[in-house]
C-alpha cells in the first residue's frame, strides 16, 4: 500500500522527529510512504480564526497535491479534522453563496481518504500491536479535535496498551482542553495559560514520565507550559512512541 504523508506545517518546521517517526513506523508495517514535496498547510489556522477566504486557496492546494493518492495519513488530529470535517463545510458554504459546485468538487476527493495516524493504523491496517518498545510510564491526553471531531475513541489507548514496556496511566480530566486552540492561545493568553497549567498539574499527579498526544500543536503548548513549570514530565508525540523499538529505542 502506498500512502501520502501529510505532515502539517507545524510538524514539518518545528517537529521533524515526528515525521521521521511516522515514516519509520509505517515502513516497518510494510506501507510505502511518499512525502509530496509540494504540500504546505491545510488552512486550519486561517479558517478557525475567521479568514475563510484565505483558507480556501490552501484547501485547493491541498487537494491538488494529495488528490491522486490512495490514502493520506497525518499525525495531527486537528489537521485531520480540518480536512474531514471542515473541507466539506467550505464546499457547502461556497454553494450556498451561489459560487457553484467547483470548490466542493475540488475538495471532495481528499475528504474520505484522509486519516489521522492512529485511525489509519487501527482501521485501515487493522493493527493495534505495532511491535513497539518504550519502557516508560505514559499518560495520554486525547486532544479535542481528535476526541470530538474525528472520534478517535480508544484507538490511541489500544495502540499504547500494546507497546512493550509501557505503563499507561489514566490522566485526570483527560477530556478537558489543554488551552491551545490555535490563535486562542494568543488572543486569550491568561485563560489559555491557566488551562495549560491545570493540564500539566493533572498530568504530574499521575506520576508519569511522559505526556503523550497525537497532535504536536497541543504538545507545543503543553510542553511550553511544562518548561515554565519546571516539571520532570516530557511531552512526546504518540508516533515517536509507536516508532520506538528494542533495537532502535527512542531517546
Amino acid at each position: 500500500m502506498r500512502v501520502a504523508l501529510f505532515l502539517t506545517c507545524v510538524n514539518d518546521t518545528l517537529y521533524p522527529d515526528t515525521g521521521r517517526a511516522v515514516v519509520k513506523l509505517l515502513t516497518r508495517l510494510g506501507v510505502e510512504v511518499d512525502f509530496p514535496m509540494a504540500q504546505t498547510c491545510c488552512g486550519q489556522a486561517h479558517y478557525n480564526t475567521g479568514y475563510r477566504h484565505e483558507a480556501e486557496p490552501l484547501a485547493r492546494h491541498f487537494s491538488d497535491v494529495f488528490g491522486e493518492y490512495e490514502a493520506i495519513v497525518t499525525p495531527s488530529g486537528s489537521c485531520g479534522a480540518m480536512v474531514r470535517e471542515l473541507y466539506p463545510r467550505m464546499g457547502e458554504r461556497a454553494r450556498a453563496e451561489g459560487r457553484g459546485d467547483t470548490l466542493a468538487a475540488t475538495l471532495a476527493p481528499v475528504v474520505p481518504k484522509t486519516y489521522e495516524l492512529t485511525e489509519f493504523l487501527v482501521d485501515v491496517l487493522g493493527v493495534t500491536d505495532v511491535g513497539a518498545y518504550y519502557p516508560r510510564k505514559v499518560t495520554y491526553h486525547p486532544t479535542c479535535h481528535g476526541l470530538r471531531s474525528l472520534g478517535l475513541g480508544d484507538r490511541p489507548r489500544r495502540l499504547l496498551d500494546a507497546v512493550k514496556g509501557l505503563e499507561l496511566v489514566e490522566l485526570p480530566g483527560a477530556d478537558e482542553c489543554c488551552g491551545f486552540g490555535g490563535t486562542f492561545a494568543l488572543k486569550n493568553p491568561d485563560v489559555s495559560a491557566a488551562m495549560g497549567a491545570d493540564k500539566v498539574r493533572n498530568a504530574e499527579s499521575t506520576g508519569a514520565d511522559v505526556l503523550c498526544a497525537a497532535d504536536n500543536s497541543c504538545l507545543m503548548h503543553i510542553g511550553g507550559t511544562m518548561a515554565r513549570l519546571e516539571t520532570e514530565l516530557r511531552p512526546v508525540h504518540i508516533a515517536e512512541i509507536l516508532a520506538s523499538t528494542e533495537e532502535e529505542p527512542a531517546v
Binding site: L14, Y15, T40, H46, R148, C177, A193
Partner: protein, 491 residues
Amino acid sequence: MSGTFVGMPAFPEAARAAVGDQTLRGNLRHATHTIRAKRAKAVAEVSDWDQLREAGKRIKDHTLRHLDRYLVQLEERVTAAGGTVHWAADAEEANRIVAALVAETGESEVVKVKSMATQEIGLNEALEAEGVHAYETDLAELIVQLGKDRPSHILVPAIHRNRGEIRDIFRREMSEWGRPAPEGLTDTPAELAEAARVHLREKFLRAKVGVSGANFMIAETGTLVVVESEGNGRMCLTLPETLISVVGIEKILPTWRDLEVFLQTLPRSSTAERMNPYTSMWTGTTDEDGPRAFHLVLLDNGRTDTLADEVGRQALRCIRCSACLNVCPVYERAGGHAYGSVYPGPIGAILSPQLRGTASEIDASLPYASSLCGACYEVCPVAIDIPEVLVRLRERVVEGGPVVRDGNRVVLRPAKGHAAERAAMRAARWAFARPGALRAGQRLASRTRGLHPRTLPGPGRAWSATRDLPAVPAEPFRDWWQRTHGGEEAK
C-alpha cells in the same frame, strides 16, 4: 439588546482579573465540576438521548422556520383565553410597555420570577427609574440582587459566590429590602434557605403585580410554561392580581406534545435532575384562580435579525439549560461576568454578538472567547454547533459581509484592530501557496536558530510570557526527506 453591561472591556481583559482571583476560580471550579459529573450520569440513564436531542433540534428548527405563523397563532390563543399580547421590537419598547402596565395598576412594587429576558432588557433598572421596585424571588437571583452584583451563570446566577459570602450579603442587605436576616445567621444551606424563604414570603403576600419570563410558549393552546426548582416562581405566578410575562419570540413550541421532549432534556441537562420539581403552566386568565389580568410581552430585540443568518440562527434553538457553561474550560476560568451579558459562557459568546451586533469591543471579542474544543456542542441538548457559529462570527468580525440589523440588510466592514493579523494571515497564505517560499523560510529559520529569542515581540509576547517556545530544529522534515529519499523540490 440593551446595555445592562455596556462599556465592558474586551473579553481577554475582563477574563484576566477572574483568572487571577483564586476564590472565584475555586468556587467556579467546584460548582461546574460537580454539576458536570451529575449531568453526565443523568443523561446516561436515558437510552434514547440521541434521539431526544435530534427531536429537540428538529422541533426548534421547524418552529423557527415558521415563526411568523406560530406567533400569530399564539397571539390568537392567548387573546381568546383572556390575556393581552404586546409586541416589543427592542428593549426600550419592552420596558416602556411593562412600565405602563405596572403604572396602570397603581402599584410601586413587583415580584419577579427569574427571567433572562427581563435581565436582557434591563427591566429592573427601567422600572426603578419610574419609581417601581422589582424584587427578585429566585434564590440565586435574590443573592445577586442583594449583593448589587450581576448574574454570572444562566441557571445559578450566584455561582461565583460561596456560602460565607452569601451569609454576609444576607446579613448586610436584607434589612434594606424588607425583612432582615435572622440574628446569628450561619452559612449552613438550610439556614440560608430559611432566611430567604421568610424574607420572600412577606413580599409574595404583599405584591399585587408579578413579572415573569417563560421557558416555553405553546402556540396551539396559548399556554406559557415555567420550569423551576424552588417553587418561588409558582408563588409569583399565582398570588399577584396582575401577571406580566416577558418572553423572547424564539421560546415558542407549536404543540403541547412537543413539550414532552424538552421536559426530559432540560432538567437533565441543567440541574441533572430526572424531572424538575416545579413545572407551572398558565393559559390566559380564569375567574376562580390566579391573576385577574395577564399580559404577554413578546420580545424581539435582535432575534429576527439573528434568524437571517443561516449558520448563526441555530443559537435561537437554545433552551437555556446552561450545560454548555458547565463544561466550558474557558467559562470555568474566566467566570460569567467577563462575557459582558446576561448570557455568559459558550452560548453567550454566540448569542450576544448576534443580538447586539459586533460593533462594541466586547461583542467583537466574544467569538474568540473559545478554544473551539467542542465540549459545548457535545452536551447541548438541542445540538447547537457552537464552534461552527463561533467561526462564522469570527468571519464576520475579520472579513465583514452582509448582515441584517434592525430588519435592514447592511454590509459590515471588517472590524478595526485586525489589520496586523489580517496581513499576517495573508502573508502566511501567500507563502503556503508556494512550497518554495515556505522552504526558504524554514531554511532561514534553521540557519539562524542560535539567534532566536525564547520570548517573542508583538502579539507573540502573550504566548512567551507563560510558555517556552520549542527550539527550531536544525533540519526541517522536508530537507531530511529530500536528503534521504530524494524527490523533486517544489517551487
